[in-house]
């Protein structure tokens, strides 16, 4: 009788212990999850604010400035490759102009790479020599003379045109 009573008391104690243990575990688990949720929500808010902070006007302006520099660099590279120096054509003409020949007027189109020149020389022979020089130059293409005329003062005027190779002004 006494033994049964003690056994019943032990079972009650075990059950009570199990009940409280389960209850405590559940409470702690809920607490842990609750704290985790709150902490995650706090972190989420913080990260969202930090992400939002990256979209400021200053950053957008900086992105725009860098974009412009990148475009400028790309365009500068292309322009640099296409760049030509027109003064090279003048150096070339000066170098190949014979003594006594004077250029009166000229038209140069550097995009079409052609030139129309009106010049004068002291006599036909000088003009012929000059024309021969221009005709023989490998940098010049489509050389043509449109007019040669003897002026009253005895000078010989001549008009010619040509196109030139791109290398000449590069």
């Amino acid at each position: 009788m006494e033994e049964k009573f003690e056994e019943g008391l032990r079972t009650q104690k075990i059950l009570s212990f199990l009940f409280f243990a389960t209850f405590l575990i559940l409470i702690f688990s809920f607490l842990f999850l609750f704290v985790s949720q709150k902490s995650l929500e706090k972190k989420k808010k913080e990260y969202q604010e930090r992400i939002e902070a990256t979209k400021t006007k200053e950053i957008r302006e900086l992105e725009q400035k860098i974009g412009l520099i990148q475009t400028q660099l790309r365009d500068a590279e292309k322009i640099g490759k296409e760049k030509y120096l027109v003064q090279k054509l003048f150096d070339f003409l000066e170098k190949n102009k014979l003594k006594g020949i004077r250029i009166n007027s000229a038209e140069f189109d550097f995009e079409q790479k052609n030139a129309k020149i009106s010049a004068e020389g002291p006599d036909y022979l000088s003009v012929a020599k000059q024309l021969k020089v221009f005709e023989s130059l490998p940098e010049i293409k489509n050389f043509s003379v449109s007019e040669v005329s003897l002026e009253k003062e005895g000078k010989v005027k001549f008009n010619f045109s040509f196109s030139f190779k791109e290398d000449l002004i590069k």
């Binding site: 559940l26 999850l33 992400i51 950053i59 900086l62 660099l73 296409e82 007027s105």
Partner: protein, 185 residues
């Protein structure tokens, strides 16, 4: 086992299951939040790294001597006043008289050369397009002055592209008509 002990045990089991079920529901609510926070963290780190990088890139570029050269060669605005003062100063320096009329004309997009259009990189399109401004003017003076002027024009920091030159006699000097082009954004 007594009847009340059995009831107690059943209650315990029920509470345990109910507790575990509620916990799993709660945990399922926390899980996506955790994933969202992780993804936000990654996004934030990427963005902050990106900002750090662009700030460094901009600082490095600003310190580079090429930066100032490019700003002058291909400026954001046409800078008419700079062009005008440059032409006037250089013409005077070489003993040339600058014409009374200087024309500026912005080239239309259809007229722009395709090779000068800014390239697209990947799928991104640059919001900046290079514009061409034609400048037509003439100078009067001697040939040597013109050559000096031309040299300064071609070697100036602002990129001048000489497109056409017309030389014609003017009294004892020459009148040189020039069509040039500059770029801006």
């Amino acid at each position: 086992m007594k009847q009340e002990e059995i009831v107690f045990l059943v209650l315990l089991i029920l509470i345990s299951f109910l507790g575990i079920y509620t916990l799993s529901l709660f945990s399922q609510r926390v899980k996506p939040l955790k994933a969202e926070v992780l993804s936000l963290k990654q996004e934030m780190e990427v963005k902050e790294k990106y900002i750090q990088k662009i700030k460094e890139t901009y600082e490095n570029l600003s310190k580079n001597e090429i930066y100032s050269l490019i700003q002058t060669a291909l400026p954001e605005k046409p800078d008419y006043s700079d062009i005008l003062s440059f032409l006037s100063q250089k013409a005077t320096a070489h003993g040339l008289a600058l014409s009374s009329k200087i024309s500026f004309s912005e080239k239309k997009k259809s007229e722009t050369l395709p090779e000068i259009q800014p390239e697209t990189q990947g799928t991104l399109t640059s919001p900046f397009s290079l514009k061409q401004l034609e400048i037509s003017f003439s100078v009067i003076g001697n040939y040597n002055g013109f050559r000096g002027f031309l040299k300064d024009l071609e070697f100036s920091q602002r990129h001048f592209k000489v497109k056409k030159i017309e030389i014609s006699p003017s009294k004892e000097n020459f009148e040189i008509k020039m069509l040039t082009e500059v770029y801006h954004y």
